[in-house]
């Protein structure tokens, strides 16, 4: 009976399940609805304000401990470690605690070189001699004058108890937190209003690997990694000169991301360095996660898709530009380094150019020039020539083109847009799928789709050739951002050519070049050394023989203009 009742109840008296509906409450609405809540919020926020206002370290260790526990939410945060202990110095005991983040710091280092010397009794900390030391003594008129050095526990701990190569005394909480967040540990001692910032970094990181996107045949096979120190060391190792300055700047109110500004002090223009620092120092952002973000934040204009700052994963490329007098910025957590200023020529140059004989390099540069033209204009030219200027196409070729399009029901622009967008889709899919599948998707997509499209009379075979050549040409552009920019702009020219043939393409081309001429990268015109014409001895678009590259780029206004002697091959022309 009971069961029947339950069944009936479940059938007829069942209440619908409540939908799980989570909404983020707007704080302002909440405040309007409930004065109490608002007051609480206000109180809590005022509490935070007072917490934020705390700047200097307190002499009382308990207060410091409470403050740190609140700031770091130690009750919730599992990786923040506060280790309280008794410190022994000169046989006296002081209350102390260590603050560090598990995973960022090397616990072995902390155990062996911080806690052990401080906690364990040893000859260094158990000696109980005079607390003051007489340095010198003199007696005049029965008056003894003594020069005394009072016992200073800070100096004592720093000089005798902590065998660490990098140790800083911090008086402000912000500096302490900054160190702790980057993997250091902080030592607080009772009665002292300073804390020791001890370098015990020890987190896992990717080892130096070969470059993935800027591959060269002849040349170094090292690429930047995510760790800023590793990256700066890579650069310093190649520069190998004391004039290399690596300045640290923190960006982001919350993330406080480390950025390293690198330049050669005796070469780079001071104004350029100052401008880079000015722009990076004046960024009102919460967090900085990548060099790509920084690039967008510090370039002159964001109106166009044209890249104005070089981004590279190769330390040798960065070094080459540093020697020219440019400035490099490395962002912690990102394996790409920014180089500024950059000109159009830089985006079409490959690191390989430096390693090859100038004839080979120039041949490759010539090919890249053609690749740029094809990427940008080939589809547009195809549409313009087939729709408006058929006389440009030789008669026999024109006949075969017409024959191949005979069965295609779509207008030319539809046909080409379908294929171009399909090609971009294949490319994007090839990049995003797991790496073993990537090339397969590309080949299968391109071959099968192309063949099927032609068989189904959706597109003509000649169009497949045009789209394929355009795609291949776009891969020949060394800089990813610049290649992307050209790929995007190709569609604009495509539409212009469909509207009015060479008229649209011609006007579009002039407007585009004018835009390029109007751009500046850190004060340097984008189109130098061509517009405006500058002295580009040995460093124009094409490279001259290595012995002829005597000068640094004129437009960088470097402190040293010559990069090598007039006769660099002294062995050959030395007068006996």
């Amino acid at each position: 009976m009971k069961k029947i009742k339950e069944i009936l109840r479940s059938i007829f008296l069942a209440t619908p399940e409540k939908d799980y509906d989570f909404l983020l409450t707007d704080i302002s609405t909440l405040a309007e609805n409930s004065d109490n809540v608002a007051n609480d919020l206000h109180n809590s926020s005022s509490n935070f304000t007072t917490l934020d206002e705390v700047k200097n370290i307190f002499p009382s260790i308990d207060v410091n401990l409470e403050y740190i526990k609140v700031k770091y939410n130690t009750l919730i945060s599992s990786d923040v470690i506060v280790r309280e202990f008794d410190l022994t110095a000169r046989n006296r005991h002081y209350k102390a605690f260590l603050l560090f983040i598990d995973g960022l710091s090397d616990t072995d280092l902390i155990n062996n070189y911080v806690l052990k010397p401080l906690m364990m009794k040893n000859p260094a900390n158990s000696f109980d001699g005079d607390q003051t030391r007489i340095l010198s003594e003199a007696v005049t008129n029965n008056i003894t004058v003594r020069k005394v050095k009072k016992f200073d526990i800070v100096e004592y701990i720093s000089n005798c108890l902590l065998p660490q190569n990098s140790l800083k005394k911090q008086t402000e909480f912000s500096s302490v937190f900054s160190g702790v967040n980057s993997g250091n540990c902080a030592l607080f001692i009772d009665t002292l209003n300073i804390a020791f910032d001890i370098d015990v970094k020890g987190f896992k990181q990717r080892s130096i690997d070969s470059p993935n996107n800027e591959i060269v045949i002849r040349g170094p096979q090292e690429a930047f990694v995510e760790n800023i120190r590793t990256n700066t060391s890579l650069v310093r190792r190649i520069v190998n000169n004391e004039n290399l300055v690596i300045e640290n700047i923190r960006v982001g109110e919350i993330s406080k991301t480390h950025c390293a500004i690198c330049y050669l002090a005796d070469i780079a223009n001071n104004d350029l360095v100052a401008e880079v620092k000015y722009r990076i120092n004046n960024l009102g952002i919460d967090s900085l996660l990548s060099s790509g973000q920084l690039e967008q934040l510090i370039e002159e204009t964001n109106k166009y898709s044209i890249p104005q700052i070089l981004s590279t994963e190769r330390p040798d490329k960065v070094t080459k530009y540093l020697f020219q007098g440019r400035v490099a910025v490395i962002v912690n957590g990102n394996p790409y380094c920014l180089v500024m200023p950059a000109t159009l020529v830089d985006f079409v140059s490959s690191p390989e150019d430096t390693n090859l004989k100038f004839q080979f390099a120039n041949f490759l540069k010539f090919l890249r020039l053609i690749a740029m033209g094809i990427t940008l204009l080939l589809p547009a030219f195809y549409v313009a020539m087939t729709n408006f200027h058929q006389e440009l196409i030789p008669t026999e070729l024109l006949f075969s083109m017409i024959a191949s399009r005979e069965n295609v029901p779509f207008p030319m622009i539809f046909e080409i847009l379908v294929m171009e967008i399909s090609f971009e889709l294949i490319r994007e899919a090839g990049l995003r799928v797991p790496s073993p599948l990537g090339p397969t998707i590309g080949i299968v997509g391109a071959l099968v789709l192309g063949q099927a499209a032609v068989s189904a009379s959706i597109v003509s075979p000649i169009l497949i050739i045009v789209v394929a050549i355009t795609g291949i040409a776009s891969f020949a552009i060394p800089d990813f951002s610049f290649g992307f920019h050209l790929r995007l702009l190709r569609f604009v020219f495509l539409i212009l050519s469909y509207l009015s043939g060479f008229l649209g393409v011609g006007i579009g081309l002039f407007v585009y070049i004018t835009i390029l001429c109007s751009l500046k990268s850190f004060g340097v015109p984008y189109m130098v050394p061509f517009a405006p014409i500058t002295n580009s001895k040995g460093d124009g678009y094409f490279v001259s023989p290595i012995w002829k590259r005597e000068r640094r780029p004129d437009y960088l206004n470097t402190k040293k203009t010559d990069s090598q002697k007039h006769i660099s091959m002294e062995w050959k022309y030395r007068k006996e």
Binding site: P394, L503, F510, M527
Partner: protein
């Protein structure tokens, strides 16, 4: 052009050559040929020498007014009224003839490629181009022009050399054409072909090195003369001077004769592509200078509004002529008289009188009568 913008020698030379080249692409060579027939070659050499002399004279006169353009000099000579008058005349010169040449070019490409398209549609394309480039500033336009001009100059040389097989050299005879008087005396008015030197009156304040003005002026005239000679020679040697070519773009018709083997038999569209770029460059430069004059005369604060206004004026002016005959009349006859009177008479007179005034001032200052 803002006062901070400075241009180099080559940029300045190419700026002046651009104006000349665009007139060559349009109907200038045909007009000169119609006037002096086979004597055109001698006539071009003659007028080039005359213009060289004038330009040398202008550079000597402008030397007394460092970093001053014709508007400043007019103000110095005749106060604000003369400055406004000259400013307005030059604005008319730049804007009106930009409109006329734009219409002429669009009519030509309409006949060649877009027979069913309204000419307004083609004009709007150029106007949008002008608007976009002028928003980017004069400096950017001049630099873009610097990149394209070598290509444009090359096309004219290419038309000459690629057509050598089609030349009938005997057409240059009689060398004096219709006689000495038509070639050298009435042909003297052909100096209007060098209308591009109007920019010489405006560039001194913007030169990186003002001392180079003379070099810039002379080089640009020599280059313009050489290219004019090439284009005249091409047309003269290909087409009988009495029969003449079609009314539109004579150099385009010369380019239609070019063929390289069996594969490349009609390359004229490629030439037209480059000339479209050239025309956009020309229009952008003239609009830019016109807006700069407007800014200088009126102290107007909104640069983009001037650009939009200028584009609108050029657009409306280009629609004024009812047909191609009117366009042709405006771009040849009216243009000729306007250039001769404004550039070679009025502006030169202002320079001469201003020089007299300056010399007088210096002399009086030297005698100690005026502080």
């Amino acid at each position: 052009m803002s006062q901070t913008t400075k241009i180099g020698n080559i940029e300045a030379i190419f700026l002046i050559v651009t104006i000349m080249i665009n007139h060559i692409i349009l109907n200038l060579p045909k007009f000169l040929l119609d006037k002096t027939h086979s004597g055109s070659l001698l006539n071009i050499i003659f007028i080039t020498l005359i213009v060289l002399g004038i330009v040398y004279f202008i550079s000597k006169l402008l030397k007394r007014f460092p970093n001053m353009d014709i508007l400043d000099i007019s103000e110095f000579l005749g106060g604000k009224i003369l400055k406004y008058t000259i400013g307005i005349l030059f604005m008319i010169y730049f804007l009106f003839f930009a409109g006329v040449f734009l219409r002429s070019f669009c009519e030509s490409i309409k006949i060649i490629y877009f027979p069913t398209t309204p000419v307004m549609f083609l004009i709007i394309f150029f106007i949008i181009g002008m608007m976009m480039t002028n928003r980017l500033g004069t400096n950017a336009i001049i630099r873009a022009n610097l990149i394209f001009i070598p290509v444009i100059l090359f096309t004219i040389i290419l038309i000459f050399f690629a057509n050598i097989g089609n030349f009938t050299m005997q057409r240059m005879f009689p060398l004096l054409g219709n006689g000495i008087m038509p070639t050298f005396l009435s042909g003297l008015s052909n100096i209007f072909a060098f209308g591009g030197i109007a920019f010489l009156y405006f560039i001194p304040p913007y030169l990186k090195d003002a001392k180079e003005f003379k070099k810039i002026a002379i080089t640009s005239v020599i280059l313009s003369g050489i290219w004019l000679l090439f284009s005249i020679a091409t047309l003269l040697f290909i087409f009988p001077s009495i029969v003449t070519t079609d009314e539109i773009l004579p150099l385009y018709f010369a380019s239609r004769f070019i063929q390289f083997g069996r594969f490349f038999q009609r390359l004229d569209a490629a030439f037209l592509l480059i000339w479209i770029i050239s025309m956009t460059s020309y229009l952008s430069i003239t609009l830019s200078f016109a807006t700069n004059i407007f800014k200088k005369v009126t102290s107007f604060k909104y640069p983009y509004l001037i650009v939009y206004g200028g584009c609108l004026i050029v657009f409306l002016l280009s629609l004024i002529p009812k047909n191609y005959v009117q366009v042709h009349f405006l771009e040849t006859t009216i243009y000729q008289y306007f250039v001769l009177s404004l550039i070679f008479a009025i502006s030169l007179s202002i320079l001469i009188f201003a020089t007299f005034k300056r010399r007088k001032q210096i002399r009086v200052k030297g005698d100690g009568f005026i502080e």
